[in-house]
């Protein structure tokens, strides 16, 4: 698995890929921080990040003020990772490079685990980048506004930063697994990305309006964990996310291992 992961990291560390995902993450984290600050919308306390219901300029002065905006857009940050993961898998089919890898590394489950591990590393780096970007944007906004930011460096403030990182990381990892699974199942970049985005941005809302378990759908679950828009507790939410990640990886592994590579 380590060999496969090291191989995958070469592909993921392409300059265009890193710049693209990095800029998208910074943009989303920055906007997620600035827009609520400017519009002063109301919000609730989420289990992973928020300790205060304060919003807008007042929110900046709270312990979670440095990262609150990032947590609120964790689902959108996850979408970037979903696209990255889906393309990482489907490009192998599009370019025909998967056959080369399988000839050199015929242990298919190991090859897929290595690929997922590399994507997870990338997703982790993007989560850190998102929190850092959110923090910097908050810092700039607070400085301009003359906000008292002393709460950020308190124990509670540091805890909020750690929680925010956890929330974004959980979101990114869940979406990474979703992207990998869609990639393996569909093998087409356009289909995998299109269906993934369609499901996260539209499908879950539609299904949620018709069913009573919408909070347990992957996008809603990771988003709710961070932003507090769900009644599911932290422990239950993390269990739910774990079930999704394990389930998605098992599906991808089963298909990847047994399907002929005949194209």
């Amino acid at each position: 698995m380590i060999a496969a992961m090291r191989s995958e990291l070469i592909k993921l560390s392409r300059r265009t890929s890193m710049i693209g995902t990095g800029l998208a993450t910074i943009a989303i984290a920055g906007l997620g921080t600035v827009v609520p600050y400017l519009t002063d919308t109301s919000g609730g306390g989420g289990p992973l990040a928020r300790t205060s219901g304060a919003t807008g300029p007042a929110a900046l002065a709270t312990a979670s003020g440095s990262v609150q905006g990032v947590v609120d857009v964790s689902k959108l940050l996850g979408v970037v990772v979903l696209v990255l993961a889906a393309l990482a898998v489907t490009n192998e089919y599009t370019y025909g490079t998967l056959k080369n890898s399988l000839v050199r590394h015929p242990d298919r489950p190991s090859l897929l685990r290595g690929k997922i591990a590399a994507i997870a590393l990338n997703a982790t780096a993007l989560a850190v980048l998102a929190v850092v970007a959110g923090f910097v944007v908050s810092l700039i906004a607070g400085s301009i506004n003359g906000t008292d930011m002393s709460a950020w460096t308190s124990a509670a403030g540091l805890g909020e930063i750690a929680s925010a990182l956890g929330a974004v990381l959980v979101s990114n990892l869940t979406f990474a697994c979703l992207g990998v699974t869609l990639g393996v199942l569909l093998r087409s970049p356009a289909l995998a990305v299109g269906i993934g985005l369609g499901w996260i941005l539209i499908g879950e809302q539609l299904v949620g309006s018709l069913t009573s378990f919408s909070d347990w759908l992957p996008g809603q679950l990771v988003s709710g964990l961070g932003s507090g828009t769900t009644d599911i507790g932290l422990a239950s939410g993390l269990i739910g996310v774990t079930v999704w990640i394990v389930g998605l990886v098992l599906i991808a592994t089963a298909v990847f291992t047994t399907r002929d590579l005949d194209t």
Partner: protein, 313 residues
């Protein structure tokens, strides 16, 4: 599916290998042997089942039925033999945004190979100068050479190449030919799939011919080319004698064709040239030309496939 057959001297051995997709049988009860250390040509027209067969041998596609071994190991355990196999299947496939060197590094890492091997293979295929250029900037011939470099990374004992000369210019084809011959001389078994029969004839000593997934011929190249009637091309010193000469040969039970280049083509038994000369001499006809016509692989294969469904596309 099968057990290891270490006593089998064949580098590749299949028994009743079959692959079906729905109602379509792509490879049909294929039983072949590829001798160790040989350059074996794997020929058949497009869609004959060559690539599917190669994919089964490389563990990429699961056979519907039948068994096979590669380097003495069953194809159900590709991890046992693939470390010693290099392959170029259905053209060179690489990440367009990565350089040649990085593309090869992807493979050395995933295959736990020594990165120093990269420079060796780039040198072999003469791509060292362009090693750090992106794959997408390569010409078709350069891409093909990089594909060969990737196949050579593990210093394989078995090299499986699917249409390796596609996109190569004449010097590139000659280089490829020379390389394959050198590899075989060093003990590497080469299985090369191609529809360029003239190329196959130049380098291969052993042949597998399939059509519609079925085996038509396996054995030495000479076994196919020599199995046809021996042909002799001859011309009289005086072309006006051709009509009389043709009648004489026909009277002796031989098949004769007059050709557009004002020669006669006579189908005669092996070593029949002396008899043809004698018949002409007895009739007082002097022959200006008398030579055996070699049956090319192309014509032999065309004739073979004509007996089935058609000719190569």
């Amino acid at each position: 599916m099968t057990h290891s057959t270490h006593s089998d001297p064949s580098a590749i051995s299949t028994d009743g290998l079959t692959k079906t997709y729905g109602a379509t049988t792509v490879v049909d009860d294929l039983t072949v042997r590829v001798p160790t250390g040989s350059i074996t040509g794997f020929i058949g027209r497009n869609g004959a089942g060559k690539t599917t067969t190669l994919r089964m041998l490389l563990g990429l596609v699961t056979p519907t039925s039948g068994t096979a071994t590669v380097l003495g190991e069953p194809i159900t355990a590709p991890n046992r033999y693939l470390p010693s196999v290099g392959a170029l299947i259905e053209g060179p496939a690489f990440h367009p945004a990565l350089s040649a060197r990085d593309n090869l590094r992807v493979l050395t890492r995933v295959g736990r190979l020594d990165d120093r091997r990269i420079d060796d293979v780039l040198d072999i295929v003469r791509l060292t100068d362009r090693a750090d250029d992106r794959f997408r900037s390569y010409s078709l011939g350069m891409k093909q050479r990089l594909g060969l470099a990737a196949a050579l990374l593990p210093a394989p004992t078995l090299l499986v190449l699917d249409e390796p000369t596609n996109g190569l210019d004449p010097p590139g084809i000659a280089d490829m030919r020379e390389l394959l011959v050198d590899l075989a001389a060093d003990g590497t078994t080469v299985l090369v799939s191609s529809h360029l029969l003239a190329e196959v004839e130049l380098i291969c000593r052993h042949l597998l011919v399939i059509e519609s997934g079925r085996l038509l011929y396996q054995g030495p190249v000479e076994g196919l080319t020599d199995s046809h009637e021996h042909r002799v091309v001859l011309a009289a010193e005086n072309p006006s004698d051709h009509e009389r000469l043709a009648n004489l040969y026909r009277a002796n039970g031989l098949l004769v064709d007059r050709r557009r280049d004002n020669t006669l083509l006579v189908e005669a038994p092996e070593g029949g040239s002396a008899r043809l000369n004698l018949i002409a001499a007895v009739a007082g006809i002097t022959l200006e030309r008398l030579e055996s016509e070699t049956t090319s692989l192309e014509s032999a294969v065309l004739e073979l496939t004509h007996h089935t469904e058609g000719v190569f596309s």
